[in-house]
């Protein structure tokens, strides 16, 4: 079946609403407007205003209400337009959703799913373009998902709704129009494991050099593109889609690094204090003696994401920068 990331997300929402009457969608403009990214277009007509619930501009209020509804036995899916706006709801997400189970000594689960867009590349300027999912991945008690493929866009929501704990789903704004084939019977997916989307040909084929490239979300298509081009240069690449930023599937990373002996982490967040810093640290803690080269990182420039296209592009990871990092890692010059 031919579909898009946006349609896959919508199908996931529709499916969840049909399967479980406790599920409802709440957020700014999810109803009459059809969703600011058109993800929920048509769902209001199908499910009505009780379950496709438009909210006022009150991020803290409606995210907190979602948490309360989850405590009260519902399965809310709360949409926040973009990660930048989620900062107005940080109190509720971090002080309540992430802590209530622990502070209550295991008595109160918060089975909420919070979806939001993230990422840059559409010339929206700093207040609509940041990638802050790595921050959220800092918080114990939250599960952080970043669907990068059609299958995950279709499948992660239902799995997230089965999780008794709060789950945040980050959808990169540049992925919504991504089109491709999805199995007709595509459904829920595992959210515990990273996937190796492409394996470096081992040294058997004569190519001496291999590298593990680790990424997630919006930068995945770019990394796959870079991997294709690197293959043409005789550099094989394992491409790992993290899928879940917390808890991190360190096993899959270590397995790959044990074979390739080199790692490049690609992350649209800023380098300082980022999820890529955590990944690089884990690899050096746990696989230091497997490494033939320092772990490379390709991140965004340490500036608020600018508006002008050339500046924005210069700030973000690119195919060229990923390839250069991979070449440095294998000692082929950057």
């Amino acid at each position: 079946m031919k579909t898009t990331y946006r349609e896959a997300m919508r199908a996931a929402l529709r499916d969840a609403m049909q399967r479980d009457e406790r599920v409802f969608l709440m957020g700014e403009d999810v109803g009459r407007y059809g969703g600011s990214f058109a993800v929920s277009l048509g769902l209001l007509e199908e499910f009505g205003p009780e379950r496709i619930r438009d909210t006022p501009l009150s991020e803290s209020g409606f995210v907190g209400a979602g948490i309360g509804a989850a405590l009260g036995g519902m399965r809310p899916v709360v949409e926040i337009m973009t990660v930048n706006f989620s900062l107005l709801a940080l109190d509720q997400i971090i002080n309540n959703a992430a802590t209530l189970l622990h502070m209550s000594g295991g008595q109160f689960n918060v089975p909420i799913v919070i979806r939001m867009t993230t990422g840059a590349g559409r010339q929206l300027g700093a207040q609509h373009s940041h990638s802050l999912e790595g921050w959220y991945a800092h918080i114990p008690g939250l599960r952080i998902l970043a669907p990068a493929t059609l299958a995950d866009a279709r499948g992660m929501l239902w799995t997230a709704l089965q999780d008794p704990d709060p789950v945040l789903i980050f959808e990169h704004g540049s992925l919504y129009n991504m089109a491709g084939e999805l199995d007709d019977d595509a459904g829920a997916v595992d959210i515990d494991k990273a996937t190796v989307l492409r394996r470096a040909d081992s040294k058997a084929d004569g190519s001496a050099d291999a590298v593990t490239i680790i990424t997630y979300g919006g930068t995945l298509p770019m990394v796959l593109d870079a991997a294709d081009q690197l293959a043409g240069e005789g550099i094989g690449a394992d491409v790992i889609d993290l899928r879940t930023l917390r808890p991190l599937d360190t096993h899959t990373l270590l397995d790959s690094v044990a074979r390739t002996h080199r790692a490049v982490v690609v992350d649209e967040g800023w380098r300082s204090g980022s999820i890529s810093a955590e990944i690089a640290a884990r690899i050096s803690e746990l696989a230091f003696f497997d490494l033939d080269a320092p772990v490379e990182r390709v991140c965004s420039a340490e500036v608020p994401v600018p508006y002008a296209k050339h500046l924005e592009q210069a700030a973000l990871p690119s195919v060229e920068r990923v390839m250069a990092a991979a070449r440095r890692a294998v000692g082929a010059g950057g």
Binding site: G64, G68, M74, L100, M103, K193, H251
Partner: protein, 350 residues
């Protein structure tokens, strides 16, 4: 000396029940102060002394299936909602027998059995939760009420306004109870709000709101019953501003530089316990021996609770990482065993 505003006292049994409830809170917290001074319990400790009529009156109006959300000054709310004094004290001791197994402490008491949802140390943080609990009831067609307690300090926070608006917009079954004790730490209401009539603010959101003498437990109970009945029968959110006063400092660390002793003394003449006791005596309802017996009962309850807490067991450090995520059959694939100390299973290592 002011007396209770209400005409007459209810039947002796009920009056005595209310008196007992307030006394239980008072004695529990006096004991907390003692234990704090003896360094048996630590952290922040905010006592409710002087405000007992609010929790005592409001709780009377609730059914077991209703929900309660409170702040960090919530020992009394927890106790009167039905959490045992032993479980509360054991929590402050950090013991496994505490109502949150030592993870919450004084400011974060929770209890699923009585639908007590905290214990929230973020000013105004509980208001959106109460809205959501009420939303869940509305959507599920349940006739339950959620009561949310908060101080007047919360009124300045954005979450207060977001919550009033949502609750009224969606006509949710929630009762907001603003405990207006005139001070947010050291900031007097008049120094933080342009409009100090809080009930009026709530009314601005099209919420039925009225102010009540929060030192008069009978007045509180009556208002709460009226409000809870209205909420339960589909009347949408209601709001009570309970005018009260805390006799003690904000917390154990507060030197109280912001108010005159004489002001405190003046309010203490309206101690809710003394007021009810005096009214009962005037009505011939509380012979001295009954009062003595009541006090002895409460003393016994609290000392049993202290014994329970004292003899509790510290929650083992080996359990530290529990309840960060739910226990699941598949515990994720983070490298617990490979990682040793550092990057392993999510969660801290002792």
């Amino acid at each position: 000396m002011t007396t209770l505003r209400n005409q007459g006292v209810p039947d002796a049994g009920h009056a005595q029940h209310l008196l007992r409830q307030m006394l239980r809170v008072r004695r529990l917290e006096e004991k907390c102060i003692e234990l704090y001074s003896a360094a048996k319990i630590r952290g922040f400790l905010h006592v409710y002394i002087g405000e007992e009529a609010v929790a005592a009156g409001v709780m009377e109006a609730l059914l077991p299936e209703d929900a309660v959300v409170a702040t960090y000054r919530e020992h009394g709310h927890a106790l009167l909602r039905g959490v045992s004094a032993g479980a509360i004290l054991a929590e402050m001791y950090g013991h496994a027998e505490g109502c949150c197994r030592g993870r919450g402490g004084s400011m974060h008491l929770f209890d699923a059995a009585t639908r007590f949802y905290g214990g929230n140390a973020i000013v105004a943080g509980g208001l959106p939760l109460a809205v959501g609990l009420a939303l869940a009831d509305r959507m599920a067609g349940r006739q339950r009420v959620t009561v949310c307690f908060f101080g007047e300090g919360a009124v300045a926070e954005g979450e207060f306004h977001e919550s009033m608006n949502l609750a009224a917009l969606w006509q949710l079954p929630v009762l907001f109870c603003c405990e207006n004790n005139l001070y947010a730490m050291g900031t007097a209401l008049g120094r933080s709000e342009s409009q100090t009539d809080i009930a009026l603010k709530a009314a601005g959101y099209e919420i039925s709101a009225w102010a009540v003498d929060g030192m008069d437990v009978l007045a509180v109970e009556e208002a709460a019953r009226r409000a809870v009945d209205a909420v339960r029968s589909g009347g949408g959110p209601h709001f009570l501003e309970l005018r009260t006063y805390r006799f003690r400092a904000h917390s154990m660390f507060d030197p109280e530089l912001y108010r005159e002793k004489s002001e405190v003394t003046r309010w203490m003449e309206r101690d809710p316990i003394s007021l009810l006791r005096a009214a009962m005596q005037a009505a011939g309802q509380l012979p001295d021996e009954e009062w003595a017996a009541l006090q002895a009962d409460v003393e016994a309850e609290i000392s049993t609770a202290v014994g329970f807490a004292e003899n509790g067991t510290p929650e083992p450090v080996s359990e530290l990482a529990r309840f960060v995520y739910s226990d699941r059959a598949d515990d994720g694939s983070d490298v617990g065993s490979v990682a040793g100390d550092g990057a392993g299973k999510e969660g801290a290592t002792p």
